[in-house]
């Protein structure tokens, strides 16, 4: 082996499935002079790849994960390391049968075909050693398979080497990462130092330790996944290959069983969460097996033995079949269950490609390589972006609490609105105690406790009766209340006060500030001081990077207001645009300022009672902001609306928020003011107005034109994604964002059912709809529109279906329901002329 180079274009640390995929795709995209190091030997350096069970089930309720998985399988097949065997997810309980139907919907929504719900008898036919008497149904994916991930890694490394792009160094341990002026400069190893401007940490479980060397954080924890191999199984005596029988996922007991040659592998996500720190992982020399194959703790598996015996009694119950190998295998778990990808916010040039499992490895390697080379990936990775983490997300206690809570949900039935119970009350708004007194039901957004609805508004439910569109089915009543719809209706009559403290706020200031915001924003930012501009932010290829509001507070002073969930990534996006000459600065004001929304027909009356400033339509036009005095407080008021009614967002220093709440609350009593939760703000008010949401409708995979949000004119100044956007304006869009109305909610049992989002839209003959770019049509958002008396869905539809009045179907939990395209484009269904907002 040649000597370690002293410099490289890029150093990739780690030679598991992730590092190997990454070096190959970087080479394929044209990068050269790549150096890969791993402290372990090749081809199995001792990380999680080496003990992975290597099977791939395609369907996930996350589109991002499903797409990464599908792309990974495509690559595994191309490398000829994929053995298709089929897989069946088993339901033992009625609740799981419903969940399997939901998986069926996700399969159709995200384009995974040939899946089917099968009977216990069919399960038995496919897998004769299952006891079908305890099975209620199966979700069969014939295209499930097993890969040879070590072989795949070797192939990808070799390809990159053959291209003359890569040198790999095994048994080379990274001792330090050198950072200067916020940039990565070099990787110090036990074999020498390599200078590099780009370094990727693809070290699985060890990634947090490597990141800390550079002063960055990769908030994951090694967690144990237990598995044991039993055999030889007489039934498998004649098996030829690695796998011939479909893999069983026994979902209700959080376990899987798969034939492995003459043996049966039994794996579990049911045991108590067993979390380790990186320091607790033995070195290669200290470990009895590999470092990530820790000693099996049988006591944690006792119940799982019994569950395995139940589902496969003939094999597992055979006393001649012994346990040959059992490990506590370490895997990377993150506090929100998603991978950690992208350039670290702390250190320029230092990238993370961590918490990636075998099933999404090559797809992730490709996507991150695209991101590094082109500035964005074909598959939208926003939910995996390392920039998503807020400071409190990086604490060990948070990571441990959330992973411990979610570990047993690996195979769990997780409601789309499900809330974490652990590590709550981390970020409290100044209104928190008032909200508690009003019976707020809190949901969490990036640590902030946000009222979703208020029990104090419960009497309104009776007042509005059926107009609140009550739900009887348990699934869509879970994490929901009719009070949300009642709050909505009352806000439309009087006014509502909304806690928006979770907004991410940052100021861009300095002589270069205008240039920065012009670069990011599609809309013209060289506007008069006091203007508020809602603008899309595009990726280089013209997809949505974000949508947000920018206030021009001074000639050289812009305030960006964006959602809490995605705000940190937005902040990094803007920070990366700051000119090198220091002529613009960014300052995060999220924790310094609170935001209170006040909307409804009485909003002006209430606020006017508290201020001598002119709040008339002429005196305070829509789309403007300025400081007004409310009692003793100086408050930045911004006249915009995300709920479709007259009103303001009010910004003021955090510590003064409670006083503002009290002033408004008191003044509002005579006018029927109520507290309104995020259920209205985020869903019902938004959907009636056709407002799009980032992460739902708006993703890099869709364009401004497809979302129907293109401006009449494109500003003359340059902005990111402009060239692509100009081209999109010339093309016929592949799909258009539509609002659909559910025409009949009645299920086969006569119960009314309400979709929650991510369901597939089908033609009247029940076929999935695919646009010419290969994207499926599915509900990007779903929710009540109480003022319209309707349940609305949003979906991108190909032009032939994107015609108002078109009849289609939506599939929900195994049944279809008729829907009609109610709107193509952005004109709201409720108050289409925006008379209420402009009152």
């Amino acid at each position: 082996m040649s000597a370690l180079p002293t410099s490289a274009r890029c150093v990739v640390i780690g030679a598991g499935i992730v590092g190997n995929s990454l070096v190959y795709h970087l080479a394929r995209l044209g990068w050269r002079d790549i150096v890969q190091v791993d402290k372990g030997p090749l081809p199995n350096p001792g990380g999680s790849t080496g003990h992975a069970s290597n099977f791939i089930f395609w369907v996930d309720h996350s589109k991002e994960m499903t797409e990464l998985t599908a792309e990974s399988v495509r690559q595994y097949k191309e490398m000829d390391v994929f053995t298709e065997c089929g897989g069946i997810e088993i339901a033992r309980t009625p609740e799981r049968v419903q969940e399997l139907q939901r998986r069926m919907s996700s399969a159709k929504a995200f384009g995974i075909d040939n899946c089917e719900i099968i009977t216990p008898e069919r399960v038995k036919e496919l897998v004769p050693f299952v006891d079908e008497s305890i099975v209620l149904a199966g979700f069969h994916t014939p295209s499930v398979g097993v890969v040879d991930s070590l072989r795949a890694g070797t192939i990808m490394r070799e390809r990159a080497t053959e291209m003359g792009a890569l040198q790999s160094f095994a048994n080379t341990e990274v001792l330090d990462l050198v950072v200067e002026d916020g940039r990565i400069r070099a990787v110090v190893t036990d074999k020498g130092t390599i200078e590099a401007e780009t370094v990727v940490i693809a070290c699985g479980c060890w990634s947090p330790k490597l990141a800390k060397m550079a002063g960055a954080e990769i908030p994951l924890t090694p967690a144990v996944h237990q598995m044991k191999d039993i055999g030889p199984v007489p039934f498998f005596a004649d098996s030829k290959g690695d796998i011939e029988w479909p893999i069983i996922r026994d979902m209700d007991v959080f376990m899987y069983e798969r034939q492995h040659g003459s043996g049966l592998e039994i794996g579990s996500y049911a045991h108590r969460p067993i979390l380790h720190t990186v320091d607790e992982i033995p070195s290669i020399a200290e470990a009895a097996l590999s470092p990530t194959e820790m000693p099996f703790t049988q006591a944690d598996f006792d119940l799982q033995d019994e569950h395995a015996l139940e589902i496969m009694p003939d094999i597992v119950g055979d006393e001649s079949v012994g346990e040959k190998y059992a490990i506590n295998g370490l895997l990377s778990y993150t506090p929100d269950g998603m991978p950690i990808l992208g350039e670290t916010p702390e250190v320029k040039g230092l990238w993370s490609c961590a918490a990636v499992w075998i099933k999404e490895g090559p797809g992730t390697g490709k996507s991150v390589a695209e991101w590094m080379v082109h500035g964005e990936s074909e598959i939208d990775l926003h939910a995996s972006d390392i920039a998503r983490f807020h400071e409190h997300h990086k604490s060990r206690e948070h990571i441990v609490a959330r992973v411990a809570e979610s570990f047993n949900k690996t195979y769990g039935i997780v409601h789309p609105a499900e809330q974490y119970a652990s590590n709550r009350n981390v970020r409290l708004s100044p209104y928190y105690s008032r909200e508690q007194e009003l019976g707020a039901v809190f949901y969490e957004t990036v640590g902030w406790e946000r009222p979703f609805w208020y029990e104090s508004n419960a009497p309104l439910v009776e007042h509005y009766g059926d107009a609140v569109m009550p739900r009887t089915a348990e699934w869509e009543s879970r994490w929901w209340s009719p009070i949300i719809n009642a709050e909505h209706l009352r806000m439309r009559e009087t006014a509502g006060i909304v806690d928006l403290t979770a907004f991410t706020l940052f100021d861009i200031t300095g002589p270069g500030a205008l240039g920065v915001v012009q670069q990011a924003a599609v809309r013209q930012m060289d506007v008069a001081v006091g203007k508020v501009v809602y603008t899309p932010v595009l990726s280089p290829s013209g997809g949505f990077k974000s949508d947000l509001t920018i206030m021009r507070l001074g000639h050289d002073h812009f305030r960006v207001v964006t959602g809490g969930a995605h705000g940190m990534a937005d902040r990094k996006w803007f920070a990366d645009l700051l000119p090198a000459d220091g002529s613009a600065q960014i300052a995060d004001l999220t924790c310094a300022y609170t935001t209170l929304g006040l909307w409804g027909p009485k909003a002006r009356t209430i606020l006017q009672e508290l201020t001598s400033d002119d709040l008339s339509h002429e005196g305070f036009p829509f789309g403007t902001c300025r400081v007004i005095e409310i009692g003793p407080l100086r408050v930045l008021a911004s006249r915009i609306s995300y709920v479709g009614d007259l009103g303001w967002e009010l910004y003021l220093p955090m510590e003064q928020g409670a006083r503002l709440w009290d002033l408004i609350w008191t003044a509002g009593q005579a006018h029927g003011l109520i507290p309104v939760g995020i259920g209205v703000y985020g869903t019902t008010g938004r959907l009636e107005k056709g407002y799009r949401a980032y992460g739902n409708e708006l993703e890099t995979e869709y364009t401004l034109v497809e979302a129907g949000m293109q401006m009449a004119k494109v500003k003359p100044q340059d902005f990111i994604g402009k060239q692509a956007h100009l081209q999109h304006r010339e093309e016929d869009p592949a799909a258009l964002l539509c609002t659909l109305r559910v025409d009949d909610h009645t299920s086969s049992t006569g119960e009314k059912r309400y979709m929650l989002g991510r369901e597939p839209i089908l033609t009247l003959d029940g076929e999935p709809i695919t646009d010419k770019r290969g994207r499926r049509s599915y509900c990007t958002s779903a929710g009540s529109a109480p003022s319209l008396g309707a349940h609305l869905l949003m979906s991108y539809l190909p032009p032939e279906h994107a015609v108002e009045g078109t009849q289609l179907l939506v599939e929900y939990l195994g049944e279809t329901y008729p829907v009609t395209v109610a709107r193509v484009g952005t004109t709201p269904l409720f108050d289409p002329a925006n008379d209420r907002i402009l009152a």
Binding site: I230, I281, M294, A299, D302, D305, E306, L309, D318, E319
Partner: protein, 251 residues
């Protein structure tokens, strides 16, 4: 036939052993635990004898309560019950033998056979079987790689170089066995499920203070095994012959 099998829980180490900061013990904070060598064979032999003659296989270990993990492993392959003699810290072989002898008597069972692994996997003193036999007043055969019992006597084969010595011991007797004695079975899942219901009792023993105490442990310097690349193809042939001649493969 009532058989007592003596078990020792030891650390499951890799190629590099790490000591505690004070150097008196192996640092087990990152390690799992296992049985000492030979003990799976000891239990397998005992289980087969009981399957043949009836009776019970009782496991005994001296040390920490956590050794239940190892006892459950063996209960899963056919042992019937376990006794943990709780004792703090590492004991010397004399103290261990005394503790076992006391607990064996206190159990009240009339033992036909006591089987031990020939030596522990960590300290390898090879002392306990002999001292235990002495304390119990029983004959002892060590290094046993073949064992047959006819009801009143045990026929023991000892490995001596490439030869075998055969001893016949009257029962009851203490037999110290080595691996190769038999092919131990693996635990099955039903075996594990049954094992969970089998009794394990913890007793405390009056143990006289150890007369031997470990003062300091030292990890021997690692002798690196070098690999010499002799080249490839015909060019390497000459050097290969050289090496073969050196090591005596060629005259």
């Amino acid at each position: 036939m009532n058989i007592l099998v003596c078990i020792k829980r030891i650390a499951l180490v890799g190629s590099q052993i790490v000591l505690t900061a004070d150097g008196t013990d192996v640092d087990t904070s990152k390690l799992g635990f296992q049985l000492s060598p030979h003990e799976e064979n000891a239990v397998e032999a005992a289980v087969r004898l009981v399957e043949q003659h009836g009776g019970e296989v009782v496991l005994i270990t001296v040390g920490e309560a956590a050794a239940e993990e190892q006892l459950r492993e063996l209960l899963a392959v056919g042992a019937d019950r376990g006794i943990i003699v709780e004792a703090g810290g590492e004991l010397d072989p004399q103290a261990v033998a005394s503790a076992i002898a006391e607990a064996a008597r206190a159990d009240g069972t009339a033992w036909d056979l006591v089987i031990c692994g020939n030596e522990s996997g960590d300290n390898t003193n090879s002392q306990v079987p002999i001292r235990l036999a002495h304390q119990l007043g029983l004959p002892v055969v060590t290094n046993v790689k073949g064992l047959e019992v006819d009801g009143t006597t045990a026929r023991c084969e000892r490995a001596v170089g490439s030869e075998r010595e055969v001893y016949t011991a009257p029962l009851p007797a203490v037999i110290a066995v080595r691996d190769g004695l038999n092919q131990p079975r693996y635990p099955s899942v039903p075996g594990r499920i049954k094992a969970r219901k089998k009794p394990v009792v913890t007793v405390s023993a009056q143990i006289a203070g150890p007369r031997l105490q470990a003062q300091q442990l030292r990890v021997p310097a690692v002798t690196t095994k070098g690999v010499t690349d002799l080249g490839t193809g015909p060019d390497a042939a000459g050097r290969l012959v050289e090496v073969f001649t050196q090591i005596g493969v060629l005259p």
